[in-house]
Symmetry: C2
Subunit: 318 residues, 2 copies
């Protein structure tokens, strides 16, 4: 089957490319290489079923030309994934998530492509404390441009699905971590400590409590949802039932790096920054009912990610 | 109080301007005059508390310059309001609703303006048949770019409210009709029959059943919501509990125009066009609990609108 992955050189996209190729599919990756890295894909460059195109989704004409008519499913992962940056430069999210998604949908219509898989995010639910959000939760009051523009993309995908008889699969994942991560809390802590092992600065008081998913569990969910759910628009939360605090992550990174005298400095307030959702509780019963089983709970996912990013657990491949 | 109305030369915006002026507020209207008309405002041009600026919200620099720092509340009504057009030219909604709203929010931040009132729409709920949607309804699966981009605007308003300590009031109204309407089903039927009294073409089989609100009832709700609801983000459906079918509207227009031999031609299918929601049922209990009382049920609103647009009921002023 011919597939296209936007953001396919990124953390999750490149591992999805590996998976789809392993299943015998043809994979074309489109990526502007802002977050993505060619080296995440270099092992596929000689595969005749693989193609890489450096392209920004904001370049609509080039995008429309690049998409092949025979594409079966587009896996749309390209977005601004740096939530904090979007709180300071909100136009980043508007462009790279909302407008990019619109351009993609419009190009798909022009080429007659009918299936889109989209990674949204639990950020669309906003800050609702200990409330478990299922897929029907409302009102949706995102507190960051990341959440707002993921929501905008969901809405446009739903509209295009109706207007052009398309089918859509939308995932709303918790925090995804693992090899090839290009940013995020664990990545940031390791980098800080490599620079100065004596001090670790934490945004917020460390009490933020969220669910973390290991990337291979996410890839499993993509396969499951894509193959098994048949509605016109299929929305699935993905999350484990377990949580880890930022304080626990900080302490784990320090421990795994073998440091002893590191001073962990917390800042005030329960949230890391203004667009940060401090408590994330996602109801995952719908995808569990479909048959999804995770291999790593939040604590295991965090520990494995730390070790992989420190090169303690193999080469970082899934 | 200094107020700003985007889309303030339009059907609803111009009547909101009249109301705010009558309450003693200063009103600056920004409108690109794509749907809006200067003559809707001409009676205010000599009022020292009124100012009109022809401006497109897509011109961000001009917009930021035009907004006065001392503005208390921005009433954001500018949008693409032609749902059908957006199904053929989806970029119209992306630009005039999503990007325009982003530009406005960003300009408000630059000028330190903290309050925004936004007219969203029941289109965000998508096509859910006879289900009554309350403000917490989900999932939100709009079937038109109109619905999708109104949802995107809600999301961005919510994000900006959190990021910049703003306060927001969001209305989700049913179909609004009345004097100064520039398009919509009644407007269209009257124009068709003025051109050819023998035949009226109806999109769909006429069974579409929706709630219609007379514009003065909407203005009352704006006042109520703006003054009485105090959350950071306040969302209210506005709708009556009554419905009218398109068939009933067609027959009423024919009758009010004194025509006898008009042939009403219906087309196939229960919806007018692909992005049309055929059955709209909106739960209005939240705004009723706030004290809102409508003066016109759907049938009365339709009849009054037909008569006003035919100049049978005064000069079209509210």
């Amino acid at each position: 089957m011919k597939t296209l992955i936007t953001g396919g050189a990124g953390f999750i996209g490149s591992q999805l490319a590996d998976y789809l190729l392993s299943e015998g599919h043809e994979v074309t990756v489109i990526d502007n290489l802002s977050w993505g890295k060619k080296e995440f894909l270099s092992h596929n460059f000689k595969n005749p079923k693989f193609k890489f195109i450096k392209l920004d989704l904001l370049d609509k004409n080039a995008l429309t030309s690049a998409i092949r008519k025979a594409t079966d499913t587009v896996f749309h992962l390209a977005a601004n994934s740096d939530i904090m940056r979007g709180t300071i430069e909100p136009e980043i999210d508007l462009k790279n998530t909302t407008i990019a998604t619109f351009n993609l949908l419009d190009s798909m219509v022009k080429k007659g492509i009918k299936k889109i898989f989209f990674t949204s995010g639990s950020g669309i639910y906003g800050d609702v404390g200990e409330t478990y959000t299922d897929e029907n939760f409302g009102p949706l009051l995102p507190i960051s441009m990341y959440g707002a523009t993921k929501l905008s993309a969901e809405g446009m995908i739903s509209a295009f699905a109706n207007l052009h008889d398309m089918q859509a699969w939308i995932l709303r994942p918790a925090n995804i971590i693992g090899p090839r991560a290009t940013h995020g809390v664990i990545f940031d802590f390791i980098n800080q400590l490599k620079e100065n092992p004596k001090k670790l600065k934490v945004l917020g008081d460390g009490s933020q409590s969220k669910s973390y998913l290991y990337v291979s569990d996410v890839i499993d969910s993509v396969e499951l949802v894509w193959k098994k759910s048949k509605e016109q628009v299929n929305i699935f939360n993905i999350s484990s039932k377990t949580f880890v605090t930022v304080k626990e992550i900080a302490e784990s990174v320090v421990k795994e790096m073998g440091l002893e005298k590191t001073k962990i400095e917390y800042s005030e307030g329960s949230r890391g920054w203004k667009g940060d959702v401090p408590i994330v509780r996602i109801d995952n019963r719908k995808i569990e009912d479909l048959g999804w089983k995770i291999n790593y709970n939040s604590k295991e996912a965090v520990r494995k990610t730390i070790r992989v990013l420190l090169d303690k657990d193999g080469d970082g491949k899934v």
